[in-house]
Symmetry: C2
Subunit: 308 residues, 2 copies
Protein backbone atom coordinates (compact mmCIF):
# COMPACT_ATOMS: atom_id res chain seq x y z
CA UNK A 1 0.00 0.00 0.00
CA UNK A 2 1.29 3.47 -0.84
CA UNK A 3 2.32 5.75 1.97
CA UNK A 4 0.95 9.23 2.38
CA UNK A 5 2.46 11.61 4.91
CA UNK A 6 0.31 14.54 5.97
CA UNK A 7 1.68 17.59 7.75
CA UNK A 8 -0.79 20.04 9.19
CA UNK A 9 -2.71 21.27 12.17
CA UNK A 10 -4.75 19.11 14.50
CA UNK A 11 -6.90 21.53 16.41
CA UNK A 12 -9.95 22.59 18.31
CA UNK A 13 -12.45 24.67 16.36
CA UNK A 14 -15.41 26.64 17.64
CA UNK A 15 -17.70 27.49 14.76
CA UNK A 16 -20.72 29.69 14.34
CA UNK A 17 -22.83 29.55 11.18
CA UNK A 18 -26.31 30.93 10.46
CA UNK A 19 -27.57 27.46 11.41
CA UNK A 20 -26.01 27.05 14.84
CA UNK A 21 -22.81 27.10 16.81
CA UNK A 22 -20.44 24.59 18.37
CA UNK A 23 -18.22 24.51 21.41
CA UNK A 24 -14.67 23.31 20.86
CA UNK A 25 -14.81 20.43 18.41
CA UNK A 26 -12.18 18.50 16.48
CA UNK A 27 -10.65 20.50 13.64
CA UNK A 28 -7.40 21.21 11.86
CA UNK A 29 -6.12 20.86 8.31
CA UNK A 30 -4.38 17.52 8.88
CA UNK A 31 -7.52 16.13 10.47
CA UNK A 32 -9.70 16.94 7.48
CA UNK A 33 -7.04 15.91 4.95
CA UNK A 34 -6.50 12.54 6.62
CA UNK A 35 -10.21 11.80 6.98
CA UNK A 36 -10.74 12.51 3.29
CA UNK A 37 -7.71 10.43 2.27
CA UNK A 38 -8.97 7.57 4.45
CA UNK A 39 -11.71 7.01 1.87
CA UNK A 40 -9.02 5.47 -0.32
CA UNK A 41 -6.76 2.46 -0.02
CA UNK A 42 -3.71 4.26 1.32
CA UNK A 43 -1.54 4.09 4.43
CA UNK A 44 -1.44 7.57 5.88
CA UNK A 45 0.21 9.25 8.86
CA UNK A 46 -0.10 12.70 10.37
CA UNK A 47 2.75 14.93 11.54
CA UNK A 48 1.38 17.46 13.98
CA UNK A 49 1.27 18.59 17.60
CA UNK A 50 -1.47 18.82 20.23
CA UNK A 51 -1.65 19.70 23.93
CA UNK A 52 -2.43 17.61 26.97
CA UNK A 53 -6.04 18.79 26.63
CA UNK A 54 -6.53 16.84 23.40
CA UNK A 55 -8.96 13.96 23.94
CA UNK A 56 -7.57 10.46 23.45
CA UNK A 57 -10.86 9.61 21.78
CA UNK A 58 -10.08 11.83 18.80
CA UNK A 59 -6.82 9.98 18.20
CA UNK A 60 -8.67 6.67 18.52
CA UNK A 61 -11.21 7.81 15.95
CA UNK A 62 -8.39 8.65 13.51
CA UNK A 63 -6.66 5.32 14.22
CA UNK A 64 -9.94 3.51 13.52
CA UNK A 65 -9.75 5.01 10.01
CA UNK A 66 -6.29 3.52 9.56
CA UNK A 67 -4.63 6.90 10.09
CA UNK A 68 -1.29 6.62 11.89
CA UNK A 69 -1.09 9.24 14.66
CA UNK A 70 2.31 8.38 16.13
CA UNK A 71 3.66 11.52 14.45
CA UNK A 72 1.26 13.71 16.45
CA UNK A 73 3.40 14.99 19.30
CA UNK A 74 1.51 15.44 22.57
CA UNK A 75 2.82 18.32 24.69
CA UNK A 76 1.43 17.30 28.09
CA UNK A 77 1.53 20.72 29.73
CA UNK A 78 0.54 22.60 26.59
CA UNK A 79 -2.76 23.52 25.02
CA UNK A 80 -4.01 22.46 21.58
CA UNK A 81 -4.19 25.02 18.78
CA UNK A 82 -7.59 26.71 18.89
CA UNK A 83 -9.44 28.52 16.12
CA UNK A 84 -12.81 30.16 16.36
CA UNK A 85 -14.76 31.71 13.50
CA UNK A 86 -18.14 33.01 12.55
CA UNK A 87 -19.56 32.65 9.06
CA UNK A 88 -21.65 35.35 7.43
CA UNK A 89 -25.08 34.61 6.02
CA UNK A 90 -23.75 33.77 2.56
CA UNK A 91 -21.31 31.22 4.10
CA UNK A 92 -18.67 32.42 1.64
CA UNK A 93 -17.05 34.82 4.05
CA UNK A 94 -16.19 34.51 7.70
CA UNK A 95 -14.61 36.41 10.55
CA UNK A 96 -11.89 34.80 12.59
CA UNK A 97 -12.73 35.46 16.24
CA UNK A 98 -9.86 33.67 18.00
CA UNK A 99 -6.55 32.14 16.89
CA UNK A 100 -4.63 30.67 19.84
CA UNK A 101 -1.51 29.03 18.43
CA UNK A 102 -0.65 27.42 21.80
CA UNK A 103 1.59 24.36 21.21
CA UNK A 104 1.78 25.18 17.51
CA UNK A 105 3.96 28.22 18.28
CA UNK A 106 7.04 26.05 19.01
CA UNK A 107 6.27 23.09 16.81
CA UNK A 108 9.23 21.06 15.55
CA UNK A 109 7.78 18.44 13.25
CA UNK A 110 9.15 14.90 13.44
CA UNK A 111 8.40 12.41 10.70
CA UNK A 112 7.28 9.15 12.36
CA UNK A 113 8.93 5.79 11.97
CA UNK A 114 8.00 3.88 8.82
CA UNK A 115 7.11 7.14 7.06
CA UNK A 116 10.64 8.43 6.40
CA UNK A 117 10.17 7.80 2.69
CA UNK A 118 6.52 8.39 1.82
CA UNK A 119 5.58 8.20 -1.85
CA UNK A 120 3.12 11.03 -1.33
CA UNK A 121 3.60 14.10 0.83
CA UNK A 122 0.81 16.54 1.68
CA UNK A 123 1.92 19.83 3.20
CA UNK A 124 -1.25 21.17 4.81
CA UNK A 125 -1.77 24.86 5.51
CA UNK A 126 0.79 25.77 8.18
CA UNK A 127 3.87 27.95 8.71
CA UNK A 128 6.13 27.40 5.66
CA UNK A 129 9.11 26.85 7.97
CA UNK A 130 7.36 23.78 9.38
CA UNK A 131 6.52 22.58 5.87
CA UNK A 132 10.17 23.02 4.88
CA UNK A 133 11.41 21.20 7.97
CA UNK A 134 9.39 18.16 6.92
CA UNK A 135 10.63 18.29 3.32
CA UNK A 136 14.18 18.29 4.68
CA UNK A 137 13.58 15.21 6.83
CA UNK A 138 12.66 13.12 3.81
CA UNK A 139 15.85 11.93 2.11
CA UNK A 140 14.29 10.51 -1.04
CA UNK A 141 12.07 12.88 -2.95
CA UNK A 142 8.45 11.68 -2.85
CA UNK A 143 6.67 10.80 -6.07
CA UNK A 144 4.37 13.77 -5.49
CA UNK A 145 4.44 16.71 -3.07
CA UNK A 146 1.27 18.77 -2.70
CA UNK A 147 1.28 22.10 -0.89
CA UNK A 148 -1.73 23.90 0.53
CA UNK A 149 -1.23 27.41 1.86
CA UNK A 150 -3.08 30.69 2.34
CA UNK A 151 -2.87 34.48 2.16
CA UNK A 152 -1.71 34.76 5.80
CA UNK A 153 1.67 33.22 4.87
CA UNK A 154 1.91 35.42 1.77
CA UNK A 155 1.42 38.46 3.99
CA UNK A 156 3.79 37.40 6.76
CA UNK A 157 6.37 34.85 5.59
CA UNK A 158 6.74 35.54 1.87
CA UNK A 159 10.36 34.42 1.40
CA UNK A 160 9.93 31.18 3.33
CA UNK A 161 6.74 30.43 1.44
CA UNK A 162 8.34 31.06 -1.95
CA UNK A 163 11.10 28.60 -1.04
CA UNK A 164 8.59 25.88 -0.15
CA UNK A 165 6.62 26.60 -3.33
CA UNK A 166 9.78 26.06 -5.37
CA UNK A 167 10.03 22.50 -4.03
CA UNK A 168 6.53 21.14 -4.66
CA UNK A 169 4.74 19.55 -7.59
CA UNK A 170 1.23 20.78 -6.85
CA UNK A 171 0.00 23.91 -5.08
CA UNK A 172 -3.61 24.32 -3.97
CA UNK A 173 -4.82 27.84 -3.18
CA UNK A 174 -8.00 29.82 -3.64
CA UNK A 175 -8.63 32.33 -6.41
CA UNK A 176 -7.81 35.43 -4.38
CA UNK A 177 -4.61 33.81 -3.13
CA UNK A 178 -3.60 32.87 -6.68
CA UNK A 179 -4.05 36.52 -7.63
CA UNK A 180 -2.06 37.71 -4.62
CA UNK A 181 0.75 35.22 -5.24
CA UNK A 182 1.06 36.04 -8.93
CA UNK A 183 -0.01 39.65 -9.18
CA UNK A 184 -2.31 38.63 -12.05
CA UNK A 185 -6.09 38.97 -12.07
CA UNK A 186 -6.77 36.42 -14.81
CA UNK A 187 -6.51 32.95 -13.26
CA UNK A 188 -5.01 31.61 -16.50
CA UNK A 189 -2.21 34.17 -16.29
CA UNK A 190 -1.89 33.61 -12.54
CA UNK A 191 -1.36 29.88 -13.08
CA UNK A 192 1.26 30.59 -15.77
CA UNK A 193 3.25 32.70 -13.30
CA UNK A 194 2.89 30.20 -10.49
CA UNK A 195 4.16 27.41 -12.75
CA UNK A 196 7.35 29.45 -13.07
CA UNK A 197 7.72 29.50 -9.27
CA UNK A 198 7.98 25.71 -9.24
CA UNK A 199 4.69 23.78 -9.21
CA UNK A 200 3.97 21.91 -12.43
CA UNK A 201 0.35 21.68 -11.31
CA UNK A 202 -1.69 24.56 -9.95
CA UNK A 203 -5.05 23.88 -8.35
CA UNK A 204 -7.21 26.95 -7.80
CA UNK A 205 -10.08 26.41 -5.37
CA UNK A 206 -13.12 28.62 -5.89
CA UNK A 207 -15.34 27.28 -3.12
CA UNK A 208 -18.94 26.98 -4.29
CA UNK A 209 -17.70 27.84 -7.80
CA UNK A 210 -15.57 24.71 -8.12
CA UNK A 211 -11.88 24.16 -8.75
CA UNK A 212 -9.47 24.53 -11.65
CA UNK A 213 -6.43 22.36 -12.35
CA UNK A 214 -3.70 23.86 -14.52
CA UNK A 215 -0.75 21.99 -16.00
CA UNK A 216 0.88 24.45 -18.38
CA UNK A 217 -1.49 24.65 -21.33
CA UNK A 218 -3.93 22.05 -20.04
CA UNK A 219 -6.87 23.06 -17.88
CA UNK A 220 -9.48 20.95 -16.13
CA UNK A 221 -12.44 22.21 -14.16
CA UNK A 222 -14.59 20.49 -11.53
CA UNK A 223 -17.70 22.22 -10.23
CA UNK A 224 -18.80 22.10 -6.65
CA UNK A 225 -21.95 20.02 -6.38
CA UNK A 226 -24.93 22.39 -6.07
CA UNK A 227 -26.45 21.64 -2.67
CA UNK A 228 -29.79 22.52 -1.13
CA UNK A 229 -28.05 23.46 2.09
CA UNK A 230 -24.49 24.16 3.08
CA UNK A 231 -24.30 23.79 6.82
CA UNK A 232 -20.66 24.49 7.70
CA UNK A 233 -17.91 25.17 5.13
CA UNK A 234 -15.09 24.59 7.66
CA UNK A 235 -12.56 22.09 6.33
CA UNK A 236 -13.99 21.91 2.81
CA UNK A 237 -10.72 23.04 1.22
CA UNK A 238 -8.67 20.59 3.29
CA UNK A 239 -11.11 17.80 2.50
CA UNK A 240 -10.79 18.65 -1.17
CA UNK A 241 -6.98 18.44 -0.93
CA UNK A 242 -7.16 15.19 1.07
CA UNK A 243 -9.46 13.61 -1.49
CA UNK A 244 -7.17 14.78 -4.28
CA UNK A 245 -3.94 13.35 -2.87
CA UNK A 246 -5.64 10.32 -1.31
CA UNK A 247 -7.01 9.25 -4.66
CA UNK A 248 -3.67 9.82 -6.40
CA UNK A 249 -1.82 7.87 -3.70
CA UNK A 250 -4.24 4.95 -3.85
CA UNK A 251 -3.96 4.72 -7.65
CA UNK A 252 -0.22 5.54 -7.76
CA UNK A 253 -0.84 7.39 -11.02
CA UNK A 254 0.07 11.07 -11.29
CA UNK A 255 -0.86 11.56 -14.95
CA UNK A 256 -2.96 14.59 -15.85
CA UNK A 257 -5.90 12.33 -16.68
CA UNK A 258 -5.75 10.73 -13.25
CA UNK A 259 -5.45 14.16 -11.64
CA UNK A 260 -8.77 15.01 -13.30
CA UNK A 261 -10.34 12.11 -11.45
CA UNK A 262 -8.59 13.18 -8.27
CA UNK A 263 -10.06 16.68 -8.57
CA UNK A 264 -13.52 15.18 -9.01
CA UNK A 265 -13.01 12.98 -5.94
CA UNK A 266 -11.81 16.02 -3.99
CA UNK A 267 -14.93 17.98 -4.95
CA UNK A 268 -17.06 14.96 -4.19
CA UNK A 269 -15.72 14.59 -0.65
CA UNK A 270 -15.85 18.35 0.01
CA UNK A 271 -19.54 18.30 -0.87
CA UNK A 272 -20.12 15.90 2.04
CA UNK A 273 -17.88 17.80 4.45
CA UNK A 274 -20.09 20.90 4.39
CA UNK A 275 -23.26 18.99 5.25
CA UNK A 276 -22.61 18.85 9.01
CA UNK A 277 -20.60 20.73 11.61
CA UNK A 278 -16.86 20.05 11.68
CA UNK A 279 -15.68 16.55 10.86
CA UNK A 280 -19.00 14.87 11.71
CA UNK A 281 -20.04 14.05 8.17
CA UNK A 282 -16.58 12.82 7.19
CA UNK A 283 -16.40 10.51 10.17
CA UNK A 284 -19.43 8.47 9.15
CA UNK A 285 -19.08 8.76 5.37
CA UNK A 286 -19.28 5.44 3.49
CA UNK A 287 -17.79 4.37 0.18
CA UNK A 288 -21.30 3.69 -1.11
CA UNK A 289 -22.31 7.31 -0.52
CA UNK A 290 -19.19 8.55 -2.30
CA UNK A 291 -19.91 6.30 -5.28
CA UNK A 292 -23.49 7.49 -5.48
CA UNK A 293 -22.41 11.10 -5.48
CA UNK A 294 -19.88 10.34 -8.20
CA UNK A 295 -22.89 9.52 -10.33
CA UNK A 296 -24.28 12.99 -9.54
CA UNK A 297 -20.99 14.54 -10.61
CA UNK A 298 -21.07 12.69 -13.91
CA UNK A 299 -24.64 13.77 -14.58
CA UNK A 300 -23.75 17.32 -13.62
CA UNK A 301 -20.80 17.64 -15.99
CA UNK A 302 -20.72 15.03 -18.73
CA UNK A 303 -22.21 15.63 -22.16
CA UNK A 304 -21.93 14.20 -25.64
CA UNK A 305 -21.13 16.41 -28.56
CA UNK A 306 -19.73 15.18 -31.84
CA UNK A 307 -16.88 17.34 -33.02
CA UNK A 308 -16.92 18.17 -36.72
Amino acid sequence: MNKLLIVGTVAFDAIETPFGKTDKILGGAATYISLAASQFNVESAIVSVVGGDFPEGYLEMLNSKNINTTGIEIVKDGKTFFWSGKYHNDLNTRDTLITDLNVLADFNPKVPENFENPEFLMLGNLHPAVQMAVIKQIPKRPKLVVLDTMNFWMDNTWDELIEVISKVDVITINDEEARQLSGEYSLVRAAQKIHKMGPKYVVIKKGEHGALLFNNGDIFFAPALPLEDVFDPTGAGDTFAGGFIGYLASTHDISFNNMKRAIIYGSNLASFCVEKFGTRRMEDLTEKEVQERLRDFKELTQFEIELN
Copy 2:
Protein backbone atom coordinates in the same frame (compact mmCIF):
# COMPACT_ATOMS: atom_id res chain seq x y z
CA MET B 1 -35.45 25.28 -41.53
CA ASN B 2 -36.81 26.04 -38.07
CA LYS B 3 -37.93 29.52 -37.28
CA LEU B 4 -36.63 31.48 -34.30
CA LEU B 5 -38.23 34.76 -33.33
CA ILE B 6 -36.16 37.05 -31.13
CA VAL B 7 -37.63 39.97 -29.22
CA GLY B 8 -35.23 42.40 -27.61
CA THR B 9 -33.37 45.65 -27.80
CA VAL B 10 -31.31 46.82 -30.74
CA ALA B 11 -29.25 49.65 -29.39
CA PHE B 12 -26.25 51.87 -29.23
CA ASP B 13 -23.77 51.11 -26.46
CA ALA B 14 -20.87 53.20 -25.21
CA ILE B 15 -18.57 51.03 -23.14
CA GLU B 16 -15.59 51.69 -20.94
CA THR B 17 -13.45 48.84 -19.65
CA PRO B 18 -9.98 48.89 -18.04
CA PHE B 19 -8.66 48.24 -21.55
CA GLY B 20 -10.25 51.08 -23.44
CA LYS B 21 -13.48 52.82 -24.33
CA THR B 22 -15.80 53.05 -27.30
CA ASP B 23 -18.06 55.69 -28.75
CA LYS B 24 -21.58 54.59 -29.64
CA ILE B 25 -21.34 51.13 -31.15
CA LEU B 26 -23.89 48.49 -32.05
CA GLY B 27 -25.42 46.79 -29.03
CA GLY B 28 -28.68 45.44 -27.64
CA ALA B 29 -29.89 42.08 -26.41
CA ALA B 30 -31.58 41.07 -29.68
CA THR B 31 -28.42 41.95 -31.60
CA TYR B 32 -26.22 39.68 -29.51
CA ILE B 33 -28.83 36.91 -29.37
CA SER B 34 -29.32 36.91 -33.13
CA LEU B 35 -25.60 36.98 -33.90
CA ALA B 36 -25.04 33.98 -31.62
CA ALA B 37 -28.00 32.09 -33.08
CA SER B 38 -26.72 32.81 -36.59
CA GLN B 39 -23.93 30.30 -35.92
CA PHE B 40 -26.56 27.60 -36.35
CA ASN B 41 -28.76 26.50 -39.21
CA VAL B 42 -31.88 28.42 -38.23
CA GLU B 43 -34.07 31.08 -39.80
CA SER B 44 -34.26 33.94 -37.31
CA ALA B 45 -35.99 37.30 -37.16
CA ILE B 46 -35.77 40.19 -34.72
CA VAL B 47 -38.68 42.15 -33.29
CA SER B 48 -37.39 45.50 -32.07
CA VAL B 49 -37.35 49.23 -32.66
CA VAL B 50 -34.66 51.76 -33.58
CA GLY B 51 -34.55 55.46 -34.41
CA GLY B 52 -33.77 57.30 -37.63
CA ASP B 53 -30.18 57.58 -36.38
CA PHE B 54 -29.61 53.83 -36.69
CA PRO B 55 -27.12 53.09 -39.49
CA GLU B 56 -28.43 51.09 -42.41
CA GLY B 57 -25.08 49.29 -42.41
CA TYR B 58 -25.88 47.57 -39.11
CA LEU B 59 -29.09 46.15 -40.55
CA GLU B 60 -27.19 45.00 -43.61
CA MET B 61 -24.63 43.26 -41.44
CA LEU B 62 -27.43 41.39 -39.64
CA ASN B 63 -29.09 40.51 -42.96
CA SER B 64 -25.78 39.15 -44.22
CA LYS B 65 -25.94 36.68 -41.33
CA ASN B 66 -29.38 35.54 -42.54
CA ILE B 67 -31.11 37.47 -39.74
CA ASN B 68 -34.47 38.88 -40.84
CA THR B 69 -34.76 42.53 -39.72
CA THR B 70 -38.16 43.38 -41.19
CA GLY B 71 -39.56 43.25 -37.63
CA ILE B 72 -37.24 46.06 -36.53
CA GLU B 73 -39.44 49.14 -36.67
CA ILE B 74 -37.60 52.30 -37.68
CA VAL B 75 -39.00 55.45 -36.05
CA LYS B 76 -37.64 58.06 -38.45
CA ASP B 77 -37.82 61.04 -36.09
CA GLY B 78 -36.83 59.07 -33.00
CA LYS B 79 -33.53 58.15 -31.45
CA THR B 80 -32.23 54.64 -30.87
CA PHE B 81 -32.07 53.25 -27.34
CA PHE B 82 -28.71 54.16 -25.82
CA TRP B 83 -26.87 52.52 -22.94
CA SER B 84 -23.53 53.53 -21.51
CA GLY B 85 -21.61 51.68 -18.84
CA LYS B 86 -18.22 51.49 -17.20
CA TYR B 87 -16.73 48.23 -15.97
CA HIS B 88 -14.70 48.00 -12.80
CA ASN B 89 -11.23 46.49 -12.81
CA ASP B 90 -12.49 42.99 -12.05
CA LEU B 91 -14.90 43.20 -15.04
CA ASN B 92 -17.52 41.45 -12.91
CA THR B 93 -19.23 44.64 -11.86
CA ARG B 94 -20.15 47.76 -13.75
CA ASP B 95 -21.81 51.12 -13.32
CA THR B 96 -24.52 52.17 -15.71
CA LEU B 97 -23.76 55.75 -16.72
CA ILE B 98 -26.60 56.48 -19.14
CA THR B 99 -29.85 54.74 -20.07
CA ASP B 100 -31.76 56.70 -22.73
CA LEU B 101 -34.83 54.66 -23.62
CA ASN B 102 -35.69 56.94 -26.56
CA VAL B 103 -37.86 55.03 -29.09
CA LEU B 104 -38.02 52.05 -26.72
CA ALA B 105 -40.27 54.04 -24.37
CA ASP B 106 -43.31 53.67 -26.66
CA PHE B 107 -42.44 50.42 -28.35
CA ASN B 108 -45.34 48.34 -29.67
CA PRO B 109 -43.79 45.14 -30.97
CA LYS B 110 -45.10 43.72 -34.25
CA VAL B 111 -44.27 40.17 -35.26
CA PRO B 112 -43.10 40.26 -38.89
CA GLU B 113 -44.66 38.38 -41.77
CA ASN B 114 -43.67 34.74 -42.07
CA PHE B 115 -42.83 34.62 -38.35
CA GLU B 116 -46.37 34.53 -36.95
CA ASN B 117 -45.83 30.92 -35.88
CA PRO B 118 -42.19 30.49 -34.90
CA GLU B 119 -41.21 27.12 -33.43
CA PHE B 120 -38.82 28.91 -31.09
CA LEU B 121 -39.38 32.19 -29.30
CA MET B 122 -36.66 34.08 -27.45
CA LEU B 123 -37.85 36.87 -25.19
CA GLY B 124 -34.73 38.96 -24.65
CA ASN B 125 -34.30 41.25 -21.65
CA LEU B 126 -36.92 43.98 -22.05
CA HIS B 127 -40.04 45.36 -20.38
CA PRO B 128 -42.24 42.34 -19.54
CA ALA B 129 -45.25 44.12 -21.10
CA VAL B 130 -43.45 44.05 -24.45
CA GLN B 131 -42.56 40.39 -23.97
CA MET B 132 -46.19 39.62 -23.18
CA ALA B 133 -47.43 41.57 -26.20
CA VAL B 134 -45.32 39.32 -28.43
CA ILE B 135 -46.53 36.15 -26.74
CA LYS B 136 -50.11 37.27 -27.39
CA GLN B 137 -49.47 37.86 -31.10
CA ILE B 138 -48.47 34.24 -31.61
CA PRO B 139 -51.61 32.12 -31.97
CA LYS B 140 -49.97 28.69 -31.84
CA ARG B 141 -47.78 28.08 -28.82
CA PRO B 142 -44.14 27.71 -29.92
CA LYS B 143 -42.30 24.47 -29.25
CA LEU B 144 -40.06 26.36 -26.79
CA VAL B 145 -40.23 29.81 -25.23
CA VAL B 146 -37.10 31.15 -23.51
CA LEU B 147 -37.19 34.23 -21.31
CA ASP B 148 -34.25 36.36 -20.30
CA THR B 149 -34.83 39.10 -17.75
CA MET B 150 -33.06 41.02 -15.00
CA ASN B 151 -33.35 42.51 -11.53
CA PHE B 152 -34.56 45.87 -12.90
CA TRP B 153 -37.89 44.29 -13.91
CA MET B 154 -38.14 42.49 -10.58
CA ASP B 155 -37.75 45.83 -8.82
CA ASN B 156 -40.12 47.79 -11.02
CA THR B 157 -42.63 45.56 -12.84
CA TRP B 158 -42.98 42.52 -10.57
CA ASP B 159 -46.56 41.55 -11.41
CA GLU B 160 -46.10 41.84 -15.16
CA LEU B 161 -42.86 39.90 -14.97
CA ILE B 162 -44.44 37.09 -12.93
CA GLU B 163 -47.16 36.77 -15.56
CA VAL B 164 -44.61 36.41 -18.36
CA ILE B 165 -42.61 33.92 -16.29
CA SER B 166 -45.74 31.78 -15.90
CA LYS B 167 -45.93 31.42 -19.69
CA VAL B 168 -42.39 30.32 -20.59
CA ASP B 169 -40.51 27.02 -20.70
CA VAL B 170 -37.04 28.31 -19.87
CA ILE B 171 -35.91 31.30 -17.84
CA THR B 172 -32.31 32.56 -17.92
CA ILE B 173 -31.20 34.85 -15.09
CA ASN B 174 -28.05 35.37 -13.08
CA ASP B 175 -27.44 34.00 -9.59
CA GLU B 176 -28.35 37.18 -7.73
CA GLU B 177 -31.53 37.53 -9.76
CA ALA B 178 -32.46 33.89 -9.05
CA ARG B 179 -32.09 34.67 -5.35
CA GLN B 180 -34.14 37.85 -5.63
CA LEU B 181 -36.88 36.15 -7.64
CA SER B 182 -37.16 33.18 -5.27
CA GLY B 183 -36.15 34.59 -1.90
CA GLU B 184 -33.81 31.60 -1.53
CA TYR B 185 -30.03 31.82 -1.15
CA SER B 186 -29.27 28.25 -2.23
CA LEU B 187 -29.47 28.10 -6.02
CA VAL B 188 -30.90 24.58 -5.80
CA ARG B 189 -33.75 25.84 -3.64
CA ALA B 190 -34.11 28.95 -5.81
CA ALA B 191 -34.56 26.80 -8.92
CA GLN B 192 -37.16 24.65 -7.13
CA LYS B 193 -39.23 27.75 -6.35
CA ILE B 194 -38.85 29.18 -9.83
CA HIS B 195 -40.04 25.90 -11.35
CA LYS B 196 -43.27 26.44 -9.41
CA MET B 197 -43.67 29.86 -11.07
CA GLY B 198 -43.87 28.20 -14.49
CA PRO B 199 -40.54 27.46 -16.19
CA LYS B 200 -39.74 23.73 -16.43
CA TYR B 201 -36.13 24.74 -17.09
CA VAL B 202 -34.17 27.26 -15.08
CA VAL B 203 -30.81 28.47 -16.35
CA ILE B 204 -28.72 30.37 -13.82
CA LYS B 205 -25.86 32.36 -15.34
CA LYS B 206 -22.88 32.93 -13.08
CA GLY B 207 -20.66 34.87 -15.49
CA GLU B 208 -17.04 33.76 -15.17
CA HIS B 209 -18.26 30.97 -12.87
CA GLY B 210 -20.31 29.27 -15.57
CA ALA B 211 -23.98 28.37 -15.82
CA LEU B 212 -26.37 25.89 -14.24
CA LEU B 213 -29.35 24.24 -15.93
CA PHE B 214 -32.08 22.90 -13.65
CA ASN B 215 -34.97 20.68 -14.71
CA ASN B 216 -36.62 19.62 -11.47
CA GLY B 217 -34.23 17.09 -9.95
CA ASP B 218 -31.74 17.15 -12.82
CA ILE B 219 -28.86 19.60 -12.83
CA PHE B 220 -26.23 20.30 -15.46
CA PHE B 221 -23.32 22.68 -15.17
CA ALA B 222 -21.17 24.31 -17.84
CA PRO B 223 -18.11 26.31 -16.83
CA ALA B 224 -17.05 29.49 -18.51
CA LEU B 225 -13.86 28.88 -20.45
CA PRO B 226 -10.94 30.28 -18.42
CA LEU B 227 -9.46 33.03 -20.58
CA GLU B 228 -6.16 34.87 -20.42
CA ASP B 229 -7.95 38.13 -21.03
CA VAL B 230 -11.54 39.25 -20.89
CA PHE B 231 -11.77 42.43 -22.89
CA ASP B 232 -15.43 43.46 -22.69
CA PRO B 233 -18.17 41.38 -20.98
CA THR B 234 -21.00 43.34 -22.66
CA GLY B 235 -23.46 41.00 -24.34
CA ALA B 236 -21.98 37.79 -22.95
CA GLY B 237 -25.25 36.79 -21.27
CA ASP B 238 -27.28 37.52 -24.40
CA THR B 239 -24.77 35.64 -26.53
CA PHE B 240 -25.06 32.71 -24.14
CA ALA B 241 -28.86 32.76 -24.48
CA GLY B 242 -28.65 33.11 -28.27
CA GLY B 243 -26.28 30.17 -28.53
CA PHE B 244 -28.57 28.14 -26.29
CA ILE B 245 -31.77 28.71 -28.24
CA GLY B 246 -30.02 28.80 -31.61
CA TYR B 247 -28.59 25.34 -31.07
CA LEU B 248 -31.93 23.98 -29.83
CA ALA B 249 -33.77 25.48 -32.80
CA SER B 250 -31.29 24.11 -35.32
CA THR B 251 -31.51 20.60 -33.85
CA HIS B 252 -35.25 20.78 -33.12
CA ASP B 253 -34.64 18.68 -30.02
CA ILE B 254 -35.62 20.06 -26.62
CA SER B 255 -34.68 17.02 -24.52
CA PHE B 256 -32.61 17.59 -21.38
CA ASN B 257 -29.62 15.89 -23.01
CA ASN B 258 -29.78 18.26 -25.94
CA MET B 259 -30.17 21.22 -23.60
CA LYS B 260 -26.86 20.18 -22.05
CA ARG B 261 -25.24 20.59 -25.46
CA ALA B 262 -27.06 23.89 -25.94
CA ILE B 263 -25.66 25.19 -22.63
CA ILE B 264 -22.16 24.20 -23.75
CA TYR B 265 -22.67 25.98 -27.08
CA GLY B 266 -23.95 29.03 -25.23
CA SER B 267 -20.85 29.11 -23.01
CA ASN B 268 -18.67 28.50 -26.04
CA LEU B 269 -20.05 31.48 -27.95
CA ALA B 270 -20.01 33.74 -24.88
CA SER B 271 -16.31 32.99 -24.47
CA PHE B 272 -15.71 34.57 -27.90
CA CYS B 273 -18.03 37.52 -27.29
CA VAL B 274 -15.88 38.89 -24.46
CA GLU B 275 -12.68 38.88 -26.51
CA LYS B 276 -13.36 42.18 -28.30
CA PHE B 277 -15.47 45.30 -27.79
CA GLY B 278 -19.17 44.97 -28.48
CA THR B 279 -20.27 42.66 -31.28
CA ARG B 280 -16.93 42.76 -33.12
CA ARG B 281 -15.83 39.24 -32.29
CA MET B 282 -19.25 37.74 -32.99
CA GLU B 283 -19.42 39.39 -36.38
CA ASP B 284 -16.34 37.63 -37.72
CA LEU B 285 -16.64 34.37 -35.79
CA THR B 286 -16.34 31.22 -37.92
CA GLU B 287 -17.78 27.74 -37.46
CA LYS B 288 -14.24 26.36 -37.43
CA GLU B 289 -13.32 28.52 -34.44
CA VAL B 290 -16.44 27.40 -32.59
CA GLN B 291 -15.64 23.75 -33.27
CA GLU B 292 -12.07 24.16 -32.07
CA ARG B 293 -13.23 25.74 -28.85
CA LEU B 294 -15.71 22.93 -28.36
CA ARG B 295 -12.66 20.70 -28.11
CA ASP B 296 -11.34 22.98 -25.32
CA PHE B 297 -14.67 22.65 -23.49
CA LYS B 298 -14.50 18.87 -23.70
CA GLU B 299 -10.95 18.82 -22.38
CA LEU B 300 -11.92 21.23 -19.64
CA THR B 301 -14.85 19.19 -18.35
CA GLN B 302 -14.83 15.58 -19.48
CA PHE B 303 -13.32 12.80 -17.39
CA GLU B 304 -13.52 9.04 -17.15
CA ILE B 305 -14.34 7.39 -13.87
CA GLU B 306 -15.67 3.87 -13.54
CA LEU B 307 -18.55 3.69 -11.10
CA ASN B 308 -18.46 0.76 -8.71
